[in-house]
């Protein structure tokens, strides 16, 4: 019996329609709404994790869902991350659509065996017979004065792992559209949510179902002198840096918010860097072995002759994330992006 026939029949999902009138939501409300829309449309969608039920999640991402959909579909699990991800893999193989939450980025490493050895491999190891259509959600990044191990940027570990997709929105619109796309995706999706932007990022979000295609970057602003490639909360930092570079240096900066880290939107990256000839990649993780390193390699391999300056990476230092009194010196700020951009512009 194929997993599909074992699953409960899904309620007919409404065909994509014109999105309804937008309202202003913040990023965590957009995540919440995506979960609500997905659960309302498809009985197979379930939410599980620590404190996601009655408490509505420590960031309130699942607020109201437990009351609306009940204990069986919004599950407060025991405190066991391997249990959360491992059982989600089983549920997904069996035809459910689990959306698992790992409460903080710093708690993700404990699920690594499941991620590296299983999550992305089950489709190929079963020669296409089984699949793992689950979403693993986790907050991402620092600068909220959180305790130790609550401000990490572990995306490179996941991007390095074959068979899974990695997504990180920076606007409420993208958060909702990408999460709905992730839940509908036939493969596992690691969905990072920049916690600095949970409440700080607000924007218009249409009601109802719409999706943002996984694998497509977003041009935040167009420019001709230099491309800032970024993702997550660093997108906002890059906007500040671009303003400074425009006003103080008269530089025209293009910003590319990747939105999906794996698979990369190679076309958008090469188009932008090909146009500007200069590129700075800004992110929160330590540079060495980071996803910025992969981007830099790709640009060098495929766009070298269009470059006017070496690609520069601005990231965290190659040390552990310090406690929060020093986090603003660890995670790049607009000044560090400006410094790197100037080096590229004056090369």
């Amino acid at each position: 019996m194929s997993p599909k026939t074992m699953a409960k029949p899904a309620k007919k999902t409404a065909k994509p329609t014109q999105p309804a009138a937008p309202r202003v939501l913040n990023l965590v409300q957009a995540v919440n709404e995506a979960l609500d829309v997905a659960m309302g449309a498809d009985e197979r969608v379930m939410v599980l994790g620590e404190d996601v039920g009655r408490n509505g999640g420590v960031f309130r991402a699942t607020e109201g869902l437990w009351k609306k959909y009940g204990d069986a579909r919004v599950v407060d699990t025991p405190l066991a991350e391997i249990g959360i991800l491992g059982s989600s893999i089983g549920l997904a193989i069996d035809g459910m659509r689990p959306v698992a939450e790992i409460q903080f980025d710093g708690f993700l490493p404990s699920v690594f065996d499941q991620v590296v050895c299983h999550l992305g491999r089950i489709r190929s190891r079963s020669r296409g017979k089984l699949s793992v259509p689950l979403v693993l959600r986790a907050p991402h990044g620092g600068l909220i004065h959180a305790p130790e191990h609550h401000s990490e940027s572990p995306e490179a570990y996941f991007c390095h792992t074959p068979g899974i997709k990695v997504v990180i929105p920076s606007t409420p619109y993208d958060a909702k559209g990408l999460l709905l796309a992730a839940i509908e995706d036939p493969d596992p999706v690691m969905f990072f949510e920049p916690k600095l932007l949970y409440r700080a990022a607000t924007g218009e979000v249409p009601a109802g179902r719409y999706t943002v295609e996984i694998g497509k970057a977003r041009v935040v602003q167009e420019g001709k002198d230099l491309t800032l490639i970024t993702w997550g909360a660093m997108t906002v930092t890059c906007q500040k840096a671009a303003e400074k570079l425009a006003s103080e240096d008269g530089a025209s900066i293009e910003i590319l918010d990747l939105r999906t880290l794996s698979p990369l939107d190679l076309e958008a990256i090469l188009a932008s860097v090909g146009k500007t000839g200069r590129c700075v990649i800004a992110h929160e993780a330590p540079n060495t072995g980071s996803w910025a390193a992969e981007l830099s390699a790709l640009i060098a391999e495929r766009g070298l002759l269009r470059l006017l300056a070496p690609v520069r990476r601005v990231g965290g230092w190659d040390i552990r994330m310090p406690l929060f009194r020093l986090e603003q010196y660890y995670i790049p700020d607009a000044d560090r992006v400006v410094m790197a951009a100037r080096k590229a512009l004056r090369f």
């Binding site: 420590v58 025991p78 405190l79 066991a80 490493p109 004065h145 305790p147 010196y329 000044d335």
Partner: protein, 375 residues
């Protein structure tokens, strides 16, 4: 053939001090007057500290802080069964444990204020910084105990985990090692009823957490975690057995988290106030006070004197914490390796450039001196 019983569980619970302060004399551990008073002092002082720390956080003078209130007996008493050279590894909710081990609370405040200089323990103690991703320390503690066993000097390792953490695989592996290698280890499950919003009954379907020990050939028992005398008796006996080479013990201390998970949490969203009220009657401190008063070891005058002394002590710790100069940002590069590689030398220099970019050439002279070892 009829089924045979091949193993059976006999999970015992130890209680000595009833909430009205009466002790079961038959079960009394060997404790002298000074030790009894020390238990009471530690518990009273750490509660007063806890209350002030919460206020500091609410006033914006401290970061996210995990409350201790209600769990003083489980936290302050077990360290009294150890020698300084024994290993002690609490959880993040371990302020009372560290305090009983002699940590200066100015350092605890620094840590929760996001300052790496807060992980400062008394010289000569084998204390370890807790792990914030819960449970990951448990197998390490098995290793600490293993090392002590190999040294053959009678050293032991004591650790804690919460009722939530008891659901994690880490405890399974730690107990497997502890039982298999008969390690001198004591693990206290500080069952305070709640893992953030998830109650104990949703963690495991088993009647007790203590009975997990049986799966690994480890001795286990449940203790009233709000009863200092029971906690003392259970832990001191477990430590004595470990020292003699008789192996590990898992002790479930049943206590109660009287407050929120941390200052970032709001327990009223998910917890019935009646449950909290019921636990107030089982408070570890007032119970011990009644016991001491019955024995004429304590009275209102002594209580007043202790309160005054505690306030003075807390003010001193807060002052020392708040007068600690801001850390030099360059500190973060220190002590990452015994010998820093070229990359860190280069990146530290880059941070100096960043600081100059922000604050001008003079800035490096104006920063407080760097601390730690580099390169």
């Amino acid at each position: 053939m009829p089924l045979k019983t091949v193993a059976s569980l006999d999970v015992q619970r130890l209680e000595i001090l009833s909430p009205d302060g009466t002790a079961d004399e038959a079960l009394m551990p060997k404790v002298d007057k000074d030790l009894l008073l020390k238990m009471y002092r530690l518990m009273s002082q750490i509660r007063a500290f806890d209350e002030r720390a919460i206020m500091l956080q609410r006033q914006g003078r401290l970061g996210t802080y995990p409350m201790i209130t209600g769990e003083e007996a489980t936290q302050c008493v077990p360290p009294l069964c150890l020698k300084p050279a024994d290993w002690c590894v609490p959880t993040y909710r371990g302020g009372g444990v560290y305090f009983a081990r002699g940590m200066r609370m100015r350092h605890a405040l620094l840590y929760w204020a996001g300052d790496d200089r807060g992980t400062h323990f008394p010289e000569g103690n084998n204390d370890m910084i807790f792990s914030i991703p819960v449970g990951t320390h448990l197998t390490q503690v098995a290793g600490l105990a293993w090392g002590e066993k190999l040294k053959k000097k009678g050293g032991v390792a004591l650790t804690y985990c919460g009722d939530g953490t008891s659901s994690k695989g880490d405890l399974h592996e730690a107990l497997t090692f502890a039982g298999q290698f008969k390690l001198p280890a004591i693990c206290i499950i500080e069952n305070n009823g709640w893992a953030i919003s998830v109650p104990r009954r949703r963690q495991a379907a088993s009647e007790t957490l203590a009975q997990k020990a049986w799966g690994y050939g480890v001795r286990g028992l449940q203790v009233d975690g709000n009863d200092c005398l029971a906690v003392y008796k259970a832990v001191s006996e477990a430590v004595a057995r470990a020292r003699k080479g008789e192996g590990p013990t898992l002790i479930e201390c049943e206590t109660y988290r009287m407050s929120h998970h941390t200052t970032a949490d709001d327990a009223t969203r998910y917890r019935d106030a009646k449950e909290v009220e019921a636990w107030k009657k089982r408070d570890p401190i007032s119970r011990m006070r009644k016991f001491l008063e019955k024995r004429r070891l304590w009275d209102d005058k002594k209580e007043k004197a202790l309160a005054a002394e505690t306030q003075k002590w807390i003010e001193g710790e807060i002052k020392a914490y708040e007068e600690t100069p801001a850390p030099n940002p360059l500190n973060m590069f220190a002590d990452n390796y015994a010998h820093a590689p070229w990359s860190l030398i280069e990146q530290r220099a880059e941070l100096e450039e960043v600081l100059k970019f922000k604050g001008g050439a003079k800035i490096l002279m104006e920063l407080p001196p760097t601390e730690g070892r580099f390169p």
